[in-house]
């Protein structure tokens, strides 16, 4: 193992890690807002990837152009999921935690079934997109352009998100609602509206990630499952509810995954991520940046 291989894998690990951070951001946002883990998060990613694929296949719209469209579509989808399902799941008085898990998990199964039904279980991929297959050489390190673009998008998304949460009225309403949903009702903020918008925003973030992932990853009905687990681990590692903890944890997860792949057989690369998660929560039971 030469120094070059190590630098090369750490560089790709960093790029992938930023993307993991972007995938996990929506999950962390929704959890922070209302203490709900969306067990259909991976399926949100899956439909975003399909949307990107079909916009390319039918209308020849490049993923770079369709990414904002897909994010917008996912925004609507996320808000609808909140209004139709999650709104009722959080009302449950008995077994509240269990109901949330299984209501969103049931949704995930339905979405996978629908994808199999309408799109068949075939693996699909986008060929000849603007960025697909290109690499960039930076001081002797080769970086795949789609992943590089994804990483830059992730950084941009987090910067925008930071200002959005801290500087806009909606952001303040989000913060206020997560602090005390009862009190905000008294000052005229509709809790359901804030939650619906929060779900929309969370889904839009994973939609953005999905559009970029579709450039370099296969699209199939079960694609969400493997990324969803990484997203849960990322969010928990960062500390539930902390959007920026998820960002930092995403980078750690990407780097750990790349390092593990250097030491162990590639099929075991996730073991490193899992081991780091367990190690961190055994020492800090609320994750790295969790305050809840």
């Amino acid at each position: 193992m030469t120094a070059e291989t190590i630098i090369q894998s750490l560089a790709s690990g960093l790029l992938m890690g930023l993307l993991y951070g972007l995938i996990a951001a929506g999950l962390a946002l929704i959890f922070g807002l209302m203490d709900v883990v969306n067990f259909a998060h991976g399926e949100f990613l899956m439909i975003a990837m399909y949307a990107t694929f079909f916009l390319f296949a039918f209308f020849a719209i490049d993923p770079l152009l369709s990414a904002p469209l897909v994010a917008a579509a996912l925004f609507v989808f996320g808000a609808v999921v909140y209004l139709l399902i999650v709104r009722f799941a959080v009302r449950a008085k008995a077994n509240a935690g269990m109901v949330q898990i299984f209501a969103t998990f049931g949704l995930a199964i339905v979405m996978r079934g629908l994808a199999q039904y309408f799109f068949t279980p075939d693996y699909r991929s986008i060929t000849h997109s603007w960025l697909g297959g290109k690499t960039l050489s930076l001081a002797g390190v080769f970086l795949p352009v789609p992943q590089l673009f994804g990483a830059m998008t992730a950084i941009a998304a987090f910067v925008v998100l930071y200002f959005f949460i801290n500087r806009t009225d909606f952001g303040r309403a989000l913060e206020a609602t997560r602090e005390d949903a009862g009190a905000v009702a008294l000052v005229g903020i509709d809790k359901n509206r804030v939650f619906a918008l929060g779900w929309g925003l969370g889904a839009a973030l994973v939609g953005l990630a999905g559009a970029i992932m579709a450039i370099f990853f296969y699209v199939y009905p079960d694609v969400g499952a493997s990324f969803a687990l990484i997203a849960y681990v990322t969010v928990a590692l960062g500390g539930f509810g902390s959007v920026f903890g998820a960002f930092a944890a995403g980078i750690i997860v990407g780097l750990v995954e790349a390092t593990t792949a250097l030491i162990l057989p590639p099929s075991l690369k996730s073991v490193g991520i899992y081991a780091v998660y367990l190690l961190v929560v055994f020492i800090r039971p609320r994750g790295l940046f969790g305050s809840l």
């Binding site: 799941a89 935690g97 079934g113 687990l229 367990l278």
Partner: protein, 326 residues
């Protein structure tokens, strides 16, 4: 309440005995192998879900990694038989004990975690074990193990011609899991677990050793789950890591209890009796041609029941039960 409670417990025991008796007679009238197969699976899931319910329902420690113990049971039995010629009956006991010990070893650090941190830890540990088994050549790696069938034998617990022995074993397993739960419900452990579930801090201050309660629940739950795994290995006579240790399995084990009623005596049984035949029937009638229609039906059902009946379907039968299961 005491009077009521002991009366209910006697009635539960009676109902269970009658149901088990009826179930034991069913194969005399139902000769169709396909239907018998569904009945075996239903009983197996009832037993598994009952075991899961002890840790996750009564004690409130939601595990989505029980596939680990199921897989350990299946692999211990299969490997001991294949590599050392140990009879499945001993393998079954060995698998159960190994699982119980591992559950406590894992519980030692994990039970400090709360809420979603705990749930994700259980998923991650089971996934790690899955990946390790997929890469463990001695244990057949990703291809798994094909258990050679030498013909019908109770000694080796394998039957090629008839499903009936499997049916009666699964029925016995479901009854044992139910009886263990029934017995624990009114033991000091049962009360401790419910206290730990409701409010661990209050329980601790009243003298319940929260940590030991969780460890006890984990050991019993893992032991019974592993026995189910051993049974499954003998029943299908072929196992591979994905089919006995995959995340899907952890969910399949939890679902009957969730739909029937978490932390209740009858929830897992009721959930399994409704869910498993429905799953198997949709899979064979519309699954093959419809490409995923079975998933759509199944998922819709899960969403609908968890929204409409968060306390589970047992609530439909007895409104008082909820208050007792508190």
């Amino acid at each position: 309440m005491d009077q009521d409670f002991s009366q209910r417990r006697r009635r539960d025991l009676l109902v269970a005995a009658v149901l088990a008796g009826i179930a034991a007679l069913v194969p005399l009238f139902v000769k169709d192998v396909y239907v018998q197969n569904i009945m075996v699976l239903t009983l197996m899931y009832a037993a598994l879900s009952q075991s899961w319910n002890i840790l996750s329902g009564y004690c409130g420690q939601i595990s989505l990694g029980h596939a680990l113990y199921f897989g350990l049971g299946a692999y211990t039995t299969a490997l001991l038989f294949m590599k050392f010629g140990v009879l499945p009956w001993f393998g079954m006991l060995g698998g159960g004990l190994i699982s119980a010990v591992i559950a406590m070893a894992l519980g030692y650090p994990c039970f400090r975690l709360r809420g979603h941190y705990f749930v994700i830890a259980t998923i991650v540990i089971a996934e790690t074990a899955l990946l390790l088994f997929q890469n463990w050549d001695w244990a057949g790696a990703a291809l798994g193990i094909d258990i050679p069938v030498h013909g019908d034998s109770w000694l080796k617990f394998q039957f090629a011609r008839s499903k009936l022995p499997y049916f009666y074993f699964a029925l016995a397993l479901a009854c044992i899991a139910w009886l263990v739960t029934w017995w624990l419900e009114d033991s000091k452990w049962g009360y401790w677990w419910r206290a730990v579930k409701d409010n661990p801090d209050a329980a601790e201050s009243l003298g319940v050793v929260v940590f030991n309660s969780k460890m006890g629940a984990a050991a019993v739950s893992a032991f019974l789950t592993a026995i189910g795994g051993s049974f499954y290995a003998q029943f299908v006579s072929y196992i591979d890591p994905e089919s006995v240790m995959g995340f899907q399995f952890s969910l399949l084990m939890a679902l009957p209890a969730v739909l029937g009623g978490v932390g209740t005596l009858w929830g897992p049984v009721l959930g399994a009796v409704i869910l498993i035949p429905l799953t198997e029937l949709t899979r064979s009638f519309i699954g093959g041609s419809g490409r995923g229609v079975d998933l759509i039906v199944y998922g819709t059902l899960i969403v609908a029941i968890s929204l409409a009946r968060p306390e589970g379907l047992v609530g439909l039968f007895s409104p008082r039960r909820k208050e007792i299961a508190r």
